[in-house]
Symmetry: C2
Subunit: 194 residues, 2 copies
DNA sequence: GTCTATAAGATGATAGAC
DNA sequence: GTCTATCATCTTATAGAC
């Protein structure tokens, strides 16, 4: 039994993902990236013609992976309240794996400086996440497991944004409990709000 | 009656503030900054020896200005719920003034790349804001104008982080209603949560 | 696929003239 | 205070050898 070798392209995406999640798109270079993978900066261009292209592929892959994680939750967990807790768990896992932020939150903050291609991917990630959450809030209201005022889509956006914000603060303070606490507070509020 | 001329130092801080709030600390240069003020990049060093120093002064000034705005709210508005609405209003005003993010939220996202001096100022901003909000939540619970589970400090952190996150998304979508909607949702939840 | 070499420009910062 | 000149380094990207 031999482990399949990781293609250089995947190694590059993995390393770039970590760099963007921790430092940001504007704060890493092809040099940084190449060094981590053990090749030269020029060789990165063989896989990704430009930095903008790399950024777009990165966000695209991240969105797909996140989407798969959401599908997994949908398949395994029925209760809307517990689905939200699992959603929070995805953010917590990301933060724990090397003080990373959500790639989407990082890039959204850098939005004004991003190439159009990457911007589109960022918005798509918001769209996917909010669509999934909206469905959870819909089902939660129907089954009376979640109580909240207003439209489910508004609750979904607020919930998602609140986690992004909590994650950013949690990393700045080196205290992951800030994220967990925000998640608990939000779910608690959704149990009891009229 | 002649308007007092704005000293170059203030002009630099104003221009830098706008640049960091929109583009980020890592995405602006002394050249960008100097060009906006009408001097050369080298001259900026006369006022701020290094970029790190500029960043620190910037965050310090921003924190003081924001603190003054909070004091003003405290002096003018009694009702805790309305104080929260005014707090949200500060974020909305910032976003409207040229699609700016909260300086603190921007720098917190870039935290991993920041000099220690700036990091300290970022955490101080969180501290000040959360302290003010905690007092509002305390008073709100006492007067039964705000209802929420858990400690006031936890509610304060979640509230603050949620606005930071909503602001980031609102700018990416070019839709300030995303911020207003999140603010309303949160305040609404705080009226009715057990 | 990876390299070296190179381009053309940006970056933060300093020295010293005016 | 502001400038020009300069530095050493980094940046994204391309051309062409191996």
């Amino acid at each position: 039994m031999t482990a399949a070798p990781v293609p250089t392209r995947e190694k590059l995406l993995d390393a770039a993902e970590e760099l963007v999640q921790t430092r940001g798109y504007n704060a890493f270079s092809f040099r940084d990236l190449a060094k981590r993978v053990g090749i030269r900066a020029a060789s990165v261009h063989h896989y990704f013609p430009s930095k903008a292209d790399l950024g777009r592929r990165l966000m695209d892959r991240y969105r797909r992976k996140f989407g798969a994680a959401l599908e997994s939750i949908t398949g395994k967990v029925r209760d809307p309240r517990r689905r939200l807790e699992r959603f929070v768990g995805l953010f917590r896992d990301t933060l724990r794996r090397g003080d990373r932020l959500c790639l989407c939150g990082m890039l959204a903050t850098e939005y004004a400086t991003l190439p159009a291609r990457i911007r589109t991917e960022v918005r798509r990630f918001y769209g996917d996440s909010e669509t999934w959450l909206t469905e959870v809030f819909n089902e939660g209201r129907r089954s009376k497991r979640l109580r909240f005022a207003g439209k489910p889509a508004a609750a979904a956006r607020t919930f998602f944004g609140a986690l992004e914000g909590a994650m950013i603060a949690a990393r700045a303070f080196g205290d992951e409990r800030r994220l967990a606490s925000a998640g608990q507070w939000l779910v608690q509020a959704l149990k009891t709000t009229a």
